[in-house]
Symmetry: C2
Subunit: 340 residues, 2 copies
């Protein structure tokens, strides 16, 4: 069931079989047919490892997975799904690499052992060792997210600054004056996660421009933390009438906290933020939010990577996306009927 066996049965040499399959040199119709018959009969498929060894390409891309053990968000699922799908369309497989506990080790596996032709990185930090390291090696990689110095890199990113600002303006336009910001967990902020930083920055600036009174919070990536966070918000400033969040996983908990505090959304309290569209629609009332186009981002990341693989030395490219806010049902004018 290897190429030699096929060659023997077809009565030709191994190289001829190879050329018949790749088309890189002419092969007569008759031999091609003979070879194809044998292949069909035996169900032969060339061994991927051997092929990878010979031509130096694995036809596999690595997807560097966010730290495991923690909670995954729906957005990440959407990224993974779309990356796998887009890669399949280009005849690439996707190898998942947990950048968890021992990220160096799995990085070494991917790159050092040449398991993949290129990589897609998720959960980028403003100062990201992985990105720097790959750039230094000139290893084909595309980031979903951008570092503090994105000019020279390959990435597809979300303009979190603008999106968070848009959320603030949306609330300000509705008359809200006291607004809270619910960020990703503190450890991620401290680690320099770009969405957490840029989102916070955009929120803070825009709030200052509009003269809002704000408080900012970090919140764990789960419902219980969201609920606790909301309790703190209302405890710290009961006059708060709106919040902006980047924390998809905490959303359900934030809603629960509001319900338990007797604040009706959107009459008493407005909620908005940056969330993957599909998940914004699972809560009631549906979330008015800047919908993260996770599928598009995954697809574009793959397209960029393929382009980079096909044209080594091409100048860096990137896409910065800033989807508009989708108006749904979770925001309304300030000063509805105050409860309690």
């Amino acid at each position: 069931m290897n190429i030699g066996e096929i060659a023997r049965r077809a009565g030709v040499s191994r190289s001829t079989v190879s050329y018949a399959l790749s088309g890189k040199r002419p092969v007569s119709d008759e031999t091609r047919r003979k070879i194809q018959d044998v292949i069909d009969e035996l169900g032969y498929r060339p061994n991927a490892s051997a092929r990878a060894l010979a031509n130096g390409r694995t036809s596999t891309i690595g997807l560097v997975f966010p730290p495991a053990g923690n909670h995954y968000t729906g957005m990440q699922l959407d990224f993974i799904g779309s990356v796998v799908e887009a890669a399949a369309a280009h005849d690439y497989d996707v190898l998942l690499s947990p950048s968890g506990v021992d990220s160096d080790r799995s990085f070494q596996r991917l790159l050092g052992e040449r398991r993949v032709d290129g990589a897609i990185l998720m959960e980028i930090r403003l100062k990201d060792d992985r990105v720097d390291h790959l750039a230094e090696l000139d290893f084909p990689a595309v980031a979903i997210g951008r570092t503090a110095h994105p000019e020279s890199g390959w990435w597809v990113g979300l303009d979190h600054t603008a999106l968070a600002a848009a959320c603030v303006h949306h609330l300000a336009d509705l008359g809200h004056r006291r607004v809270a910001f619910v960020n990703r967990p503190e450890q991620l902020l401290r680690a320099g996660y770009e969405s957490a930083h840029r989102g916070l920055e955009g929120f803070t600036k825009a709030a200052a421009e509009r003269g809002l009174t704000v408080r900012t919070y970090c919140c764990g990536d789960d419902a219980a933390s969201g609920q606790a966070c909301l309790e703190r918000i209302l405890h710290d400033d009961p006059a708060t009438t709106g919040l902006v969040t980047l924390n998809e996983a905490a959303l359900g908990g934030l809603y629960r906290g509001l319900a338990q505090a007797g604040r009706h959304v959107p009459r008493d309290f407005s909620v908005t933020g940056v969330v993957a569209g599909r998940w914004a629609e699972t809560v009631t009332p549906q979330l008015t939010a800047a919908d993260v186009p996770a599928e598009e981002m995954g697809r574009r990341a793959v397209d960029l990577l393929i382009e980079r693989l096909d044209h080594p030395g091409a100048p860096p490219r990137h896409h910065l996306l800033a989807p508009p806010i989708s108006l749904r049902a979770s925001t309304g004018p300030a000063g509805g009927t105050p409860s309690a």
Copy 2:
């Protein structure tokens, strides 16, 4: 940066380097040290393709991903995460394979081209070609889910029949007499998805035992479908006071439908079902449900697969799990205060 280069610089033969690394034959401390020094200096790592070609193992397992293009559920994300993590603990990588549009093709890629040593299958059907095919080839695979004839296979499954029945008994014990069942989408049911079938079966049987009046529904995997489904339920039988669902993705929509119909959960209407624990906690009120131990299942699937890889010819093993119902806040006695 290949093994020959290391050998030259260390002044030994290639085979000696190989033995120094693998430990399969004795190597003197001195040469081992010399070799190690060179390796450390150059940051050498053996090429994975070459190694795979030589010893016939790729150290990679394939995870056959659910049909793409559709919506993914949170449960699937949990499976993926835990599989990746567990595989990493055994020094295996995970290759994602979309079993989407052209499932034969990606199957051929995985198996025919020998990209993986074994596979884990998700979204099993009662009569599943993939499972049969792999069993026929004696290819090391483990299913997350079980077919109609699971005796001879390797799998880790959930006792959907028992879980759905437990949900029914829970509602019946609370006095509910008219109950609906919200299943996965109709196309999945027709395709023979085991959770949809066994869940329906368990629900129907238990309801008959308890003499309940029931209706069963299929529902798309998204919030909008959930909402529509709930409207249909109340339209078909306004006296319905409870539902059991297997459809995690529709949950948010079901809740919204209830809210819009003015039915308070759990006072007027009880909701329960089979859902991954983390997602049961994102809705308000939190869902009383049989928590799908997705992480445990993923981990166990990997452990079984590794065992099968390490001991070819070992007799089939499997795990059937039936987690208890976690009492949360979405169910209550029938005949609270009827609204409207």
